[in-house]
């Protein structure tokens, strides 16, 4: 019996910025290389991780605040990638993640949405999304059903 490829747990830490998000994504995808994800699954990982980290850059460490750490932990198991993203920035406004409803496209041309897609994409593609405020940290955990 051949077992599916697996990888050791991945840990990546960067200091919050838009370019740091690119750096973290590139490091994560490189570390996931041995899983040989297809283009669809690799896209899911890059997209969800980008949206989650962009939210941290924009809202947890908004302009004017001192940029702090964004830490990723990624463990591979039978049912996919178990992700934990931690930052030490401002908490989620309501102590929970936005529901992430699909944006309403049945609107006038000039009212077409230019934002509000991020949480929808996260909630649509990730499973078991949970947010916790632990001491001074935000912890977002979820599972990506890829590499199974």
């Amino acid at each position: 019996m051949t077992s599916a490829p697996t990888i050791p747990e991945v840990h990546i830490s960067v200091t919050s910025s838009e370019m740091a998000v690119r750096d973290a994504l590139s490091k994560l995808l490189t570390a996931l290389g041995p899983l040989d994800l297809d283009v669809e699954d690799a896209g899911t990982v890059e997209l969800v991780m980008a949206e989650a980290m962009n939210n941290i850059v924009e809202h947890a460490y908004p302009e004017g605040d001192v940029p702090g750490p964004i830490r990723l932990a990624c463990a591979h198991s039978d049912d996919g990638l178990h992700i934990k993203i931690t930052d030490s920035g401002r908490p989620m406004p309501d102590g929970t993640t936005p529901v992430g409803r699909p944006t309403n496209l049945d609107v006038d041309f000039c009212d077409l949405p230019e934002g509000g897609f991020g949480w929808f994409l996260i909630q649509d593609l990730a499973k078991e999304v949970e947010y916790r405020r632990v001491d001074n940290d935000n912890q977002l955990t979820f599972r990506l059903p890829v590499g199974t």
Partner: protein, 112 residues
């Protein structure tokens, strides 16, 4: 964020030179599109075939570019790579734009 632009009769074809339209370059992209489409062309085809990744900020920047053209001009998207196509499909934004797999498909549709 570099764009290249050429005119083909009433069509303007703007190609993105670069592999990502993400949060780091979304504003730059929007500004570059605004400058590149300062033409009277009724139809602008945005060739995305070099773009491998787009996030919600990049998607928002493309929507903003379309809105900037106004309702009398149209922005058509061509050459969507798999992850770019996925973002448009999941957000249902593929129903707002004309979307074509290749630049040639987009040109053929305009000629038809």
């Amino acid at each position: 964020m570099e764009l290249s632009s050429r005119q083909d009769g009433p069509l303007q074809i703007v190609a993105v030179i670069g592999s990502r339209i993400d949060a780091a370059v979304a504003i730059e992209f929007k500004d570059a599109m605004r400058a590149a489409t300062d033409t009277p062309s009724p139809t602008v085809i945005l060739d995305l075939s070099e773009v491998e990744f787009i996030d919600s900020s990049g998607l928002g920047a493309i929507v903003a570019s379309m809105k900037h053209l106004g309702q009398s001009r149209s922005l058509v998207l061509a050459g969507l790579t798999p992850t770019v196509e996925k973002v448009f499909r999941l957000t249902r934004m593929d129903s707002v734009f004309g979307v074509f797999p290749t630049l040639q498909d987009a040109l053929d549709a305009q000629a038809a």
